[in-house]
Amino acid sequence: MIETDQLTRCYGNLTAVDALSIRVEPGQVLGLLGPNGAGKSTAMRMIAGFLIPTSGTARVCGYDVAREPLKAKRALGYLPEGAPSYGEMTVREFLQFIIRMRGLKADAAYRRFDEVVHQLQLEEVLGLSIDILSKGLRRRVGLAQAILHDPPVLMLDEPTDGLDPNQKHAVRQLIDTMARERTILISTHLLEEVHALCNRVVIIARGKLLADATPAELERRSRYHGAVSFSAPGSGMSQEMLGRLPQVASIEVDPLDGRITVFPRAGERILEPVETLLREQGLEVSEIQLERGRLDEVFRQITTHDSDRAEPAKVSA
């Protein structure tokens, strides 16, 4: 379990993390989301015991990070931002160093070492020095380091940054299999990752907590939630007819590919009436999609001020 209570951190006049209180339970995979410089890494550094908070407390598995730092650190597996490691060491040496630092018992450690190396597909690079590895491999070495002691709490700062799609998939599967009994906190700015991994999302900007919800709840806040979109050439006439449907609030056409999005009035379901209308008009529609809502739009909405919020890129029909 991870708990923070009014966690605050100032750098001079800048408040990087502002009275952040979150609580992550076992079984939860919490995605910490926010624009660059929102305070994600600073918050994680305080929870990991690297930075000392200006005020407030953080607890890992019930151990106060300031009062019982060693117990808290033993319970925690942490991947710092950028996955730092000692470049002059080989992957094997580095992982053995971590085993020694964590005081793992020899036979259990070797079994665990093999397991982790297999999970992260590091077999072939064990003898290479970390300096010459690609960014993706270094990230995987950093992940291996974080999970070697099989910690009850995992905190990963941008775990899939720099990985190719296949590696991302593998790492997400790994996190997924670990998620069941563990408490996992990951930071990311990839919204697809939230869908793939997290069952809870916390959005912060300028150090403040702005939203705490499940991904589905966030999607429901999107104006795209419940909207219907389709592509159909020569649908000029039917756009007008669609606009007259009582359930429809507005219609937008993507200026680039001509895709039409129909927005419902609050609480209305419009997939069926839209489909019916299109059929009646005899329009060829190759595919039609009911939108769940767009996280990127909700993210923008939440993290930008009203004054500097970007205008939607769609043109009203």
Partner: protein, 244 residues
């Protein structure tokens, strides 16, 4: 295995993986030999002892110890590995001690490798080997003080060059502060007690007796206490970094 020895082993290994260790050893041994035989008038003195060898050690350490200690914390800060190290279950003290011991053992190895000089002096005459042993112990203790200064100042900066220069500067001050020329310079302006204190602060004053083979408890305590003092300062500096 304890975190201290894990850190120590990692540090020692990093010396030998990079050329740092070998370059250091070669320069140390060559300089130790040259200075002893040429600058120290080893033959001309016609005395079977290693005093000319030991009196050169402060000056050798002045250049070579900062080269060993400059990367100690500066590199960890720059490379981001400090965050990794300090989020592993160990205290700042254990980390500092591990790094200090690695450098200290390494200097110990360099000292051991000067054994040909000891063989030479035993071949040429009949020196008092007790005095020589005392000289080695004293020199190693002094090296510890130099290392602790370097360890502390390396924690101050993320630049290895700055760490090197600061360490060399502080060390040269501590070597020279008790020299008559320096004390004379200040004698007019500073109170007598301060002058007296300055002369006792000097590394050279404390080491000269040891180089002659006199192991005075006060001299040993001087090196021991200043080593511990600088290590404490280093740990406090590291801790301060976490709050800033």
């Amino acid at each position: 295995m304890s975190p201290v020895s894990a850190v120590m082993r990692r540090e020692l290994r990093s010396y030998f993986v990079t050329p740092v260790a070998y370059v250091f050893l070669v320069i140390f041994l060559v300089l130790a030999g040259l200075l002893t035989f040429y600058a120290g008038d080893f033959y001309e003195r016609e005395q079977a002892d290693l005093q000319p060898f030991f009196v050169m050690h402060p000056w050798l350490y002045l250049i070579l110890v900062p080269a060993i200690t400059m990367r100690m914390w500066a590199e960890e800060t720059r490379g981001g590995t400090l965050e990794l190290l300090l989020t592993l279950p160990l205290t700042l003290w254990q980390a500092m001690l591990g790094k200090f011991l690695a450098a200290w053992l390494f200097i110990g190895l360099a000292l051991l490798l000067t054994f040909p000089i000891w063989i030479t002096v035993n071949y040429l005459g009949a020196p008092d080997n007790g005095v020589i042993a005392a000289g080695y112990v004293g020199s190693w203790l002094m090296a510890g003080t130099f290392i602790s200064i370097g360890a502390c100042l390396s924690a101050l900066t993320r630049s290895q060059v700055v760490a090197f220069i600061l360490t060399a500067l502080v060390c040269v001050l501590l070597i020279l502060v008790g020299e008559p020329q320096v004390l004379d310079f200040f004698r007019g302006t500073l109170p007598r007690k301060l002058i007296h204190a300055m002369s006792h602060l000097s590394m050279l004053q404390h080491f000269e007796a040891i180089a002659r083979g006199v192991l005075d408890l006060r001299d040993l305590l001087y090196f021991l206490i200043s080593t511990i003092g600088w290590l404490i300062a280093g740990v406090l500096l590291l801790d301060l970094k976490r709050t800033r």
